[in-house]
């Protein structure tokens, strides 16, 4: 289904996007693909020595899922900003689902903008990120 961005109103939701289950292999790929070499995500010995049960996922994999959720629906050059706060650790093997809802439709500097509330949750309904995206509505 194609969504007409110009018709979106406050309270409308965008198609959610699921990512996972996140395996150790995914974390190794993201370690190399992102250049984030923090061993806490890939070295279970290091994670245990740091007081965790096991390695846990890069928060940025959840943010990347939100990025994909947006570009599944709008041209990337309409995205003005994307921000997230990480609210809980995402455990290894989790599946995350990104969601977006229109919080506000506003105009700034002559540009028609959508403000989206973003979240990711794991399969057991633990919220892992909470964020905001600002999207410019193309002029027709």
């Amino acid at each position: 289904m194609t969504i007409d961005i110009t018709q979106l109103a406050v309270g409308d939701t965008l198609p959610p996007l699921e990512f996972g289950p996140i395996s150790r292999h995914t974390l190794a790929l993201y370690c190399g693909g992102s250049g984030d070499l923090n061993p806490i995500h890939v070295d279970s010995d290091f994670a245990k020595a740091s007081g965790y049960e096991d390695v846990f996922t890069h928060g940025m994999l959840s943010m990347a899922t939100l990025g994909r959720l947006l570009t599944n629906w709008t041209e990337q050059d309409t995205i003005r900003s994307l921000s997230v706060r990480f609210t809980a650790i995402t455990k290894i093997h989790a599946t995350v689902t990104g969601s977006a809802i229109v919080r506000e439709r506003t105009n700034k500097g002559g540009e028609d903008l959508l403000v989206l509330d973003l979240t990711t949750h794991t399969q057991d309904n633990q919220q892992t990120t909470k964020g905001t995206a600002i999207i410019a509505v193309p002029t027709v």
């Binding site: 990512f19 995914t26 790929l29 993201y30 190399g32 693909g33 992102s34 250049g35 984030d36 070499l37 923090n38 061993p39 806490i40 290091f46 020595a49 740091s50 007081g51 890069h58 928060g59 940025m60 994999l61 943010m63 990347a64 899922t65 990025g67 994909r68 947006l70 570009t71 599944n72 990337q76 050059d77 995205i79 003005r80 900003s81 994307l82 921000s83 997230v84 706060r85 990480f86 650790i89």
Partner: protein, 152 residues
Amino acid sequence: MLLNSDCIGQRSEERSIVIEAGQLKLFAKAIGETNPIYFDEAAARAAGHRNILVPPTFGSCLKFLAPAETPSADELGLDYKALLHAEEKIEYHAPLYVGDRVTLMTEVDSIYSKKDGALEFLVRTTHITDEAGTLLQSVTNTVVMKNAGSST
């Protein structure tokens, strides 16, 4: 404080980096990207892009791929064992493509504590500019350190 508040306001050296196709392909695979404009040059060009398009959150990776030397992790007081990612914000001004040479400069915006010093926050913004000095993206990263010995 574990973090060194003397670093507030400090600006890194400028680092230059070329965005490489192989790096983006690995990134796309890792995040489960399925749209070929993000990993296939022919598909990107067919969609009207001048090369493989850099996806929305890859700008956050450039600071890892071309890390700032000053201030160093040691100077800042960072300890990976106690570190968690708290927030990330990316502001977009112009698209990035494979093959682009960009310059990064990272600035320490703030260092502060919460919960009587049990949590210490470091906020840094990396400014990504093109060769003409035009701002392409600003990436603001907040990490939190758990200070186990903060009860005093």
